[in-house]
Point group: D2
Chain length 93, copies 4
């Protein structure tokens, strides 16, 4: 069980929609659509992925990190360090 | 014809790979994989989309914007303003 | 007392360096230096600010959020929601 | 003369304001202000820097890149490649 498990269906739905957006990008490129229009749709897909990340991160803090903090000691320190590293990757992606 | 048309196959291949990454994310969520591992893969898919954007933008500058600049006047101004707006969306996504 | 208080001097030193970078940008613009060189230095200053943010966020999770989680209830929920919102702003900036 | 030269005073004014924002961050840290409030102000300073970058980039495309494109040949190719690389750094910062 993870933080997001309770919302699994909602996350799967969002990811399927993003999959559809990426297939839509393929159609646009296939049909030689205008570069700027393709770029606009890529920004939309990127933002959708970003929103999924922020949702998962929030759930992770609420559940996995909170449980580790309750346990205390190195379990808590490692879990927070891990979360901070993931936030760093998210910020730099 | 657009800037990317000559490299269409390469872009389609990259987009299909990204589609595969997003399906992979669905499997990870389906299988209750650890939040941080899902986040890591989302960052990878976001970076791949970003790289496609930067490639398309470079081609757009080389072809569409360059042609408009050669034409000059408002055609050039509008095309550059459009490119700058797309760069802004990319930076903020 | 906050998470970063113990490292206050290090953060102040980093922020003074960033202040110096921004004054350096003013000199570059004053001296009509090449646009791309100015852009390169802006990216450096932005990354330095980003690194300060990630440091502060890590400290915040380790101290403020961990304390709130130990307290539990709405204190913990509110503190995590607040941290998630700050992460969202950081990702979108 | 570069693209931004005509707007030099406006850019200098914006950069001085950002310098003030960074000094404000130092005061917040000096006064042990709450981590989240410091993070919020860092995001504001980062966005201000980003906006300066996008402005400079737009001017660069309109002047330096447009002039190089009018010249054609490797001068144009090199200038566009340079602009694309700067856009890449901006997107990843």
């Amino acid at each position: 069980m993870h933080g997001y498990t309770a919302d699994k269906d909602a996350y799967l739905k969002r990811l399927r929609r993003i999959e559809g957006q990426v297939r839509g990008l393929q159609r646009m490129v296939e049909n030689d659509e205008y570069c700027i229009d393709v770029l606009t749709q890529i920004s939309a897909a990127t933002k959708a992925l970003q929103a999924v990340s922020l949702g998962l991160l929030d759930e992770h803090l609420k559940h996995c990190v909170a449980q580790a903090v309750a346990e205390g000691g190195t379990v808590a320190e490692d879990k927070i360090a891990e979360a901070s590293a993931a936030i760093g990757r998210l910020v730099r992606s």
